[in-house]
Symmetry: C2
Subunit: 405 residues, 2 copies
């Protein structure tokens, strides 16, 4: 009856399932836990590991959430999410795309979980999924956990990590069950040309390949032209996004998917099976935020353009580190190859010796062990100090090498 | 490469995965959605479908949550949950059990999701899981979704739906990979004898069988002696509970598991893989609630004893319906066999004709299509009116039958 269980290292440990043994998690949460342990020892840490925006969110979101708590919106909400919030999201994307979108195409769920839910409802164990790398670790973690085979189609640093027709061709040639697209990209900050992403969507729809377009950073694009793939008709193209980054409220844990009505219904059933529903009071807060989203994100975009530009400038003038200049979001994907340290060692020592927390590159694909990701979404001075410490650490490593020679 | 995909009914629907096609969800959420649709048409509905407590929660929980929002606790939290909350829960169970429990044995996650996470990290597709039925639908839904084989060991109505040595013997004889215990029970309100549940735990631990003890209603026991299975040493016994019912805050979507340190670490990794973390502000609210939990639940227990007693009395004097008198929580599992309607028809017609929403019995196991579940956790007058409408509907059905004869 029972299938093969994973062998565990010692006789005294519990024996987990195969899926349990394939859990990866998110490296940046482990870095954060380590950083917080150092903080509890009294150290002051510069947090550049997580995309954890510490900007002040739109006041109306917090006021509305508190008002909902006061009014005792404390019960279960519909499994697909509050109808008003779903309708508000549909209206926004209808206006962005010029298409007729309605709330039956929208499902509310934590964005990280939506990645898992999408792969879960579309792919069977052993199926092949394409990621264009470097890619957000949760795609790789969700696919591994579900027993899917990930094939990486690497983006090219000399092309600014942008998606091209060649990448689409390479991906389709592999005849995958699903493709995960991340536009704008985390960790590179690259934004893909509208005609290229639309071509990918059309070709996936035509070939019966599922496409997840993770657009979490789309609204934070300052250096390119971002195009959503939200569609009134496509059956196999699912768009997802999050309120975490655009409203600086990651703690709200609220995201959404836009999909064909049948797919949205399936995702709602997944919600009901997994976690029942999300809180109504946080959803009401997000709904209030929709009224100010364009105005608020304009400020965030201006800030990110300036701060990531300044960080990239420091990095690229360091003589030892290098990065592509981001066009969206707040990450910098930094090449540390010249330090000769691998990413894990670099990150561990940077945290312990310079009290600066960053994420190892291999979290974004096995080929990226000579990269690190810096998140420039904290207080401006802290971010700049963290970047300066990272650069100084890298330069001192170089200096040591020369001295040792 | 790709495994067999599920066949979908029409060529125009998207083709989902096998796991996607095995999503069941929770019937009571569909009933709630249907009831809310009727409300939008202007009808007034008596909600006895969901265990959605509408009592006023401890004020300190809401005040602390709002204060945390004001203080901008809006970032990511640790994947296992806030250390302070985990330590608070460990301290409470240490005092309940007289054992040394610490925060490394506690993980914060939505309780419904914890069922899925437990089965996911412990069982492989095809493995056998035992549920003592009637059982909370999420056990069945999570098992089906994960491709597990559920074997029902039915509890006996004449024994007050209590767990006995015979049930333990029957369960162990089937050599399952895992057993899910629900004490106190939803939907029957039965509380199992401490020596029996401890015997089950000891025998599972001895036999290397995983045991999930869902104790969501344990703190709401008013008519028996409830014993938690939280243990400082057991490797394969996982206790879970929720703040939803004990604090009347289902919308907070916050629960927890107590487990061996290695199992807790695996559950935290599951959190990180699936949804990253829960909000810090809701966790801080729950932490504040721990200070008043005994005082608050005493009031809820007194209320539930009185209200479920009154409901059971009405039901058992109806001449057509029958139920066991609950000893915990706020559900009544009502036998509707004498109406000759099956549960689905009964529930649909009761909602449409008498505007009263209840849950069909088959949600709790396929053998229970002549039962319905009533949730007595709304306003007292609404609950009593809902019960009266349910009884009147059943009686009128009987009357029609007699007239037609």
């Amino acid at each position: 009856m029972a299938s093969t269980h994973s062998a565990e290292p010692t006789a005294s440990s519990p024996t987990f399932s195969v899926r349990g043994s394939k859990l990866i998690g998110q490296e940046m949460f482990r870095v954060m836990d380590h950083a917080q342990a150092l903080e509890r020892q009294g150290h002051s840490i510069y947090h550049l590991e997580l995309g954890n925006p510490r900007m002040v969110p739109p006041p109306i979101i917090l006021e509305t959430t508190m008002q909902a708590l006061r009014l005792k919106h404390l019960g279960y909400a519909p499994m697909a999410g509050l109808k008003e919030l779903r309708a508000g999201i549909a209206a926004r994307y209808a206006s962005l795309t010029g298409q007729e979108l309605t709330e039956v195409q929208v499902v509310i769920s934590p964005a990280n979980l939506l990645i898992h839910q999408f792969l879960d409802i579309t792919c069977n164990p052993g199926d092949q999924v394409i990621c264009f790398t470097p890619a957000f670790p949760s795609y790789l973690a969700a696919a591994a956990h579900l027993g899917l085979h990930v094939n990486a189609v690497p983006l090219v640093v000399e092309e600014g990590f942008r998606l091209t027709r060649n990448h689409i061709k390479a991906a389709l040639k592999l005849k995958p069950r699903a493709i995960v697209l991340n536009n704008a990209n985390n960790p590179t900050g690259a934004v893909y040309a509208p005609e290229i992403v639309h071509e990918l969507a059309d070709r996936c729809e035509g070939a019966g390949i599922w496409l997840l377009s993770d657009e979490t950073y789309g609204d934070l694009t300052f250096g390119g032209r971002f195009a959503t793939l939200a569609s009134a008709r496509a059956k196999q193209v699912v768009v997802m996004s999050s309120f975490s980054k655009v409203f600086s409220i990651p703690g709200f844990r609220t995201g959404y998917a836009l999909a064909h009505e049948a797919v949205a219904a399936k995702l709602a059933l997944s919600n009901s099976t997994l976690f029942s529903c999300l809180p109504a009071f946080t959803q009401l807060g997000c709904l209030a935020g929709l009224a100010v989203i364009d105005e608020y994100t304009a400020g965030i975009r201006a800030r990110s353009a300036k701060l990531t530009g300044a960080c990239a400038d420091l990095v690229n003038r360091s003589g030892v580190l290098h990065c592509h200049v981001p066009e969206s979001g707040f990450y910098l994907f930094v090449d540390i190859a010249r330090t000769t340290l691998d990413d894990m060692t670099f990150c561990r020592r940077l945290l312990e010796e310079r009290h600066t927390a960053v994420t190892p590159g291999r979290s974004f694909g096995s080929a990226y062990s000579s990269f690190i990701r810096l998140a420039a979404c904290g207080q401006e001075e802290d971010v700049l100090e963290g970047v300066r410490r990272t650069i100084a650490f890298a330069q001192d490593l170089g200096g040591c090498r020369v001295q040792a020679a």
